[in-house]
Every structure is written in structure tokens, then in C-alpha cells.
């Protein structure tokens, strides 16, 4: 089982389907391929793969990156292949995760030079990381582990399992997790839809939470096809989360979503209703969108919103306080590509007031293959109020700073 995770997942899916039928001739599609209608069988749209060995910033058009007047975008660290989720320690250590690769890295700023250390190796899709009270929590495919006192133990981290058996069905797709510590002291994580669009079990297509002290897992929100980003509004303590809509219903349908869940037990529609107003052609029969909570904001078809954070730093102008910043990884299931940016969203209570692109420039040819040279994944706010975001396509972290004088 030490081949790549996705291949292993696909094999597991084959084992099931092979047992279920006598003829092995039928070709079970990869998870992303599932749900493709006959009319789209010859579509050449495909997901993009990151450069697994990373790319150097100096071979990339970094100067194409644009932010509003007064803001500056620069490369902060590179050489972190497949840089995914971000977490920042009390002492300023920047932790970075992998999804396809198996490492967790620590980036330490030493007087303007950044040292990249691989602190954990051989993990099982360790996409989710979060830091709280001296502890780094890491969500792998099947378990969540805590590393106490991590910033004093970067060379020899000691892990204790908080919860395991989180992927009992070895689902073929959307098994990587986002992880964040809630204001209630519980760890929140997603467990996505096993394929593009299928009927989920109770712990699939959901946001779950676990009490790190007891290991008790609860279902917090259902009908969430896959969320790979969430955060709590510091003012209202409401959970906001991004969600990827299903594929193969066309360029603009359905929209990906920004949702708000002020309480546990809400259902956000998947697989019955998409974007709050459109029934699924198959699963939506006999259902109504009125049964489900609609999104707070439609983010656009296939833009792939990933990590998000509320800005609570001291550096950006006052009007940015409490805004949500969302990393949009960018579309693949769309003939004209969009996304590949950092989006700013202004919220008031449970309502979205406005949204606009904040950092752009990765998308260079909306009909190209590939159309972009980098893909934002997660956001973090640094101690000095600068914003950091990761790019898994190249293995680079970028910093956004604000200077009033300019």
C-alpha cells in the first residue's frame, strides 16, 4: 500500500467493483471522471497536476502578480514542493502541508532568509494542518494527530493520535482533509463526496468536528460536497466555509460556494440541490431546493475555492478588517478557465456585502492547457499583519504587504 494514495484509492475502488461483477471489462472511472454524461464523453478537460519537484521562482513571471494600490506581492519562500495548507505557530514558524506528497514542512525566517525543514515524512495525504496553543494538529486521510510543543521539537516531533479510522470506506476521491481549530476548542475537518456525484454516507460530504480531549467525532454540517477551507468570523463566531460544486454540468453550472453555518445540523444541499437553486438532474428528482441552506455567495463555476481566512492583522487598511480572503485554485472542468486568484469578500453578519479579486495574474491564457502558471491553495495572516498564501503548482509561498506611503 505504499504507492500513491490516489492510485491506492482507485485500486480499492476496483477491488470493490471487481467483486461486484463477473466481467472485469467495465472500466471504473477515476473519481473526477464519474458523472460525465454521454454528450461529454469526448471532452478533453482534465485536472492539472502540480509540478511534484517544484519550480524555481526565477523561471516564473512573478511580476505578473497584481494587488490593489499600496499592496505588494512577493515570493516569501520557495522549494516547498506541492505546498498546500498553512498554519502559523506562536513563534512565527510557518507550517506547510502536502496533499499528494507525504510531508509537512516548517519554514523559519532567519533574518530575511527562510529555512525550509521537512519535519514529518511518509504521511498519508496530510493536507490538513492547524496550530493552537503550542500544538500542531495534522489531519491525514484516516486520522488526526497532535504534536505538542512543536516549535521546540522541530527536529523530533512526537505525535499522539486524536482520532482515527476517519476513512473507513477508503473512498476514491475527496479524502484529503482541511483542518481548523474552532472557537469551541474542537477540531473541524471535512470529509468530501467519495466521487464527483454519488449518494454520500453519514460521514461523507460533511464537515465533522472532534473534541481533541475525548476523541468524540460529531457531524457538524451535511450536504457539503467538498470543503477545503473554513474559518470563523471573529465577530459572530459563525463558521464560514468554501465548497466545490459538482463537475460535468457545463462551464457555469453549478457555481462553487461560500457558505455560512451559524449552528450545527444544517444541510447545504449536496447531492440533491446545487448552488441553492438548481436540482441535480439525477439526485434532485423528488426533492426541492427549499429543503436546504443556500450559499451566502456564488463564487463561480469550477473556480475551486480552497483555503480561507478572516483578516485580523494590523497592517492592511481598516476597511480590510474582518474581510474573508479565499484562495481560488482555478477551474479545470470549464472550457474557458477562471479563478487562480485570491478573492476578497466583505461580510456583515451572515450576509456578503461585496466580493472582488485581490491578487490576480496567475491566469495567463483562459483557453490554454495549462491556462495558468500558479495556483493559490491556502491563506494565513502573519504576526506582522502581512498575508501569506501558498501555491502547490510550483511549491512557492507568496507574501502580500501593505505600505501606506505608496
Amino acid at each position: 500500500m505504499d504507492r500513491t494514495l490516489i492510485a491506492a484509492a482507485v485500486m480499492a475502488a476496483f477491488a470493490v467493483s471487481a467483486a461486484a461483477q463477473d466481467k472485469p471489462a467495465a472500466s471504473p472511472p477515476p473519481a473526477w471522471h464519474q458523472g460525465k454524461p454521454p454528450a461529454m464523453l469526448e471532452s478533453t478537460l482534465h485536472p492539472f497536476a502540480p509540478h511534484m519537484t517544484g519550480r524555481a521562482a526565477k523561471e516564473l513571471p512573478i511580476d505578473k502578480l497584481k494587488a490593489p494600490a499600496g499592496f505588494k506581492v512577493e515570493v516569501w519562500a520557495e522549494g516547498i514542493p506541492e505546498a498546500r495548507s498553512l498554519a502559523i505557530g506562536d513563534k512565527g514558524t510557518v507550517f506547510v502541508s502536502n496533499r499528494i506528497s507525504k510531508n509537512v514542512y516548517a519554514v523559519i525566517d532567519r533574518g530575511g532568509k527562510r529555512e525550509v525543514k521537512t519535519i514529518l515524512k511518509g504521511l498519508n495525504s496530510p493536507n490538513g494542518i492547524t496550530f493552537s496553543k503550542g500544538t500542531l494538529y495534522v489531519a491525514e486521510r484516516d486520522k488526526i494527530t497532535r504534536y505538542d510543543g512543536i516549535e521546540s521539537n522541530l527536529d523530533n516531533p512526537q505525535g499522539k493520535v486524536v482520532a482515527d479510522n476517519l476513512d473507513p470506506d477508503k473512498q476514491p476521491g475527496h479524502f484529503w482533509k482541511y483542518l481548523a481549530m474552532g472557537p469551541d476548542g474542537k477540531l473541524y475537518f471535512n470529509n468530501g463526496s467519495p466521487q464527483n456525484v454519488t449518494m454520500p454516507t453519514y460521514i461523507q460530504a460533511a464537515i465533522l468536528r472532534v473534541d481533541p480531549n475525548t476523541g468524540v467525532v460529531e457531524n457538524f454540517a451535511q450536504g457539503v460536497r467538498n470543503s477545503v477551507g473554513f474559518a470563523w468570523d471573529p465577530k459572530t463566531k459563525n463558521l464560514w466555509f468554501t465548497e466545490h460544486g459538482r463537475d460535468w454540468l457545463g462551464d457555469d453550472m453549478p457555481s462553487d460556494e461560500l457558505n455560512v453555518a451559524p449552528r450545527a445540523g444544517m444541510h447545504f444541499g449536496f447531492p440533491y440541490c446545487h448552488q441553492g437553486d438548481t436540482l441535480d438532474p439525477e439526485y434532485g428528482k423528488h426533492r426541492s431546493c427549499k429543503e436546504f441552506t443556500p450559499p451566502a455567495l456564488k463564487l463561480g463555476g469550477h473556480v475551486a475555492p480552497l483555503g480561507m481566512k478572516f483578516y485580523n492583522g494590523k497592517q492592511f487598511p481598516q476597511e480590510y478588517q474582518g474581510n474573508i480572503f479565499i484562495a481560488r485554485h482555478g477551474s479545470w472542468n470549464r472550457t474557458v478557465k477562471q479563478g487562480y486568484d485570491v478573492l476578497r469578500v466583505v461580510v456583515e453578519g451572515t450576509k456578503v456585502v461585496k466580493s472582488e479579486p485581490f491578487v490576480t495574474g496567475f491566469l495567463v491564457d483562459e483557453k490554454g492547457d495549462p491556462p495558468m502558471w500558479g495556483r493559490p491553495v491556502d491563506i494565513a495572516v502573519m504576526k506582522d499583519g502581512a498575508m501569506l498564501f501558498s501555491d502547490d503548482y510550483n511549491g512557492i509561498l507568496y507574501r502580500v504587504t501593505y505600505n501606506k506611503g505608496k
Binding site: R3, T4, I6, A7, M52, T53, E59, G79, I108, E115
Partner: protein, 194 residues
């Protein structure tokens, strides 16, 4: 003392990271001398069981070296070759082999495969990812002119779910292939030039 040793190691890491420049085909060419023993001059293989690297997409070469180093893909000859390569070295090698032109194939496709091959390549969705001319793109390999025994072995490996596959696509696509289909496709693809 331990602290000093640690910070020295840290400095070495930092130096390594920030000393890494853009992928350099010239540096890759120098490192590729050892590859020629099996993969042939300038990565144009003369051995039907060993793949041609010349003219492959850059990202594909780096990805496969990575797969060997990480142990996802295993081969008695290649695994030890990749075991100690850094990411930067892989990128240099990738840049070099991508910059070399693939030699016209020496393989002669049979008349039967020449007729059936294009139909199978469409039927089994090869052209959807590998491109209409089967020259590959991004992390997806060029198939045109690839060595026939190598192609056959990979397709059989995907079908048996023993060949590492980053996204599951090839493992899936190969399930429907009969042994005859695999023979025809390998014979057809190996003779494709351009």
C-alpha cells in the same frame, strides 16, 4: 555543540534551497551522461524495453523521477538511480530531455496495427489526455515513437494495478484493454513519428 551542528545543518539547507536556480538543460545534460547507458544517446532508446526520454514533456520526466525516488514506482534499475536525486537535479534532467528532439522511430508497425491502432487510441480515450498526435503534455507522456516492449509492459502494469499512477486515470483506462488491444496499441504507438 549540538546547537551549532544544527544551525550549520540549517544553513546548509537554506543555502541549498536558495541556491537552486531555474531548471537548467545544460546542467541536466551533464548529469544525463549516466542515463545514456540504458536510455540511449541523448535519451533516444535503442532498447525495446527501455523508454525513450528525448522529446518527452518536461513535467512528465520530473514527475516520473519523483515517483521512482519516493518509491511509488519501482524498478530494479531506475529506483537506485533516482534515489539520491534532488528536486533541482530532477528539474535539470527534465529540462534537458525535453529539449532534445525525439529521433524518428525505427519500429515498423504491422499493417493490421496501423489500421486498428488509431481506432483503439480513440476508443480507449488515449488521445484525450496524450493529445491528438500522442505527443503528450504537462505530466502526461509522449507515446508516439516510444519503445514497444516498454509500452506493453506499462499498459499491462496499469491493467494489473501494479504501476503507480498519480491520479488513477491510467489504471482506470487500462482496465478495458484486452491483451490483443495492448499488443496492437504498443505496435501502433511505437511506429508513430512526427
Amino acid at each position: 555543540m549540538k546547537r551549532i551542528a544544527q544551525s550549520a545543518a540549517a544553513a546548509a539547507v537554506a543555502l541549498f534551497i536558495f541556491g537552486a536556480g531555474a531548471a537548467d538543460p545544460e546542467a541536466g545534460k551533464a548529469k544525463a551522461q549516466v542515463c545514456a547507458a540504458c536510455h540511449g544517446p541523448e535519451g533516444n532508446s535503442q532498447n525495446p524495453t527501455v523508454p525513450t526520454l528525448a522529446g518527452q514533456p518536461e513535467q512528465m520526466i520530473a514527475t516520473q523521477l519523483y515517483q521512482f525516488r519516493e518509491g511509488n514506482r519501482k524498478d530494479a534499475q531506475m529506483s537506485p538511480m533516482a534515489a539520491n536525486l534532488s528536486n533541482a537535479e530532477m528539474n535539470d534532467l527534465a529540462a534537458y530531455f525535453a529539449s532534445v528532439k525525439a529521433a524518428p522511430p525505427k519500429h515498423q508497425t504491422s499493417a493490421e496495427s496501423a489500421k486498428l491502432g488509431p481506432e483503439l487510441a480513440k476508443k480507449y480515450n488515449c488521445t484525450q489526455c496524450h493529445g491528438p498526435t500522442l505527443h503528450g503534455q504537462q505530466h502526461i507522456p509522449r507515446l508516439a515513437g516510444q519503445q514497444p516492449d516498454y509500452l506493453r509492459a506499462q499498459l499491462k502494469g496499469f491493467k494489473a494495478s501494479t504501476r503507480a499512477d498519480m491520479d488513477g486515470n491510467m489504471t482506470s483506462a487500462a482496465q478495458a484493454l484486452s491483451d490483443k488491444d495492448i499488443d496492437v496499441l504498443a505496435d501502433y504507438l511505437a511506429g508513430l513519428g512526427g
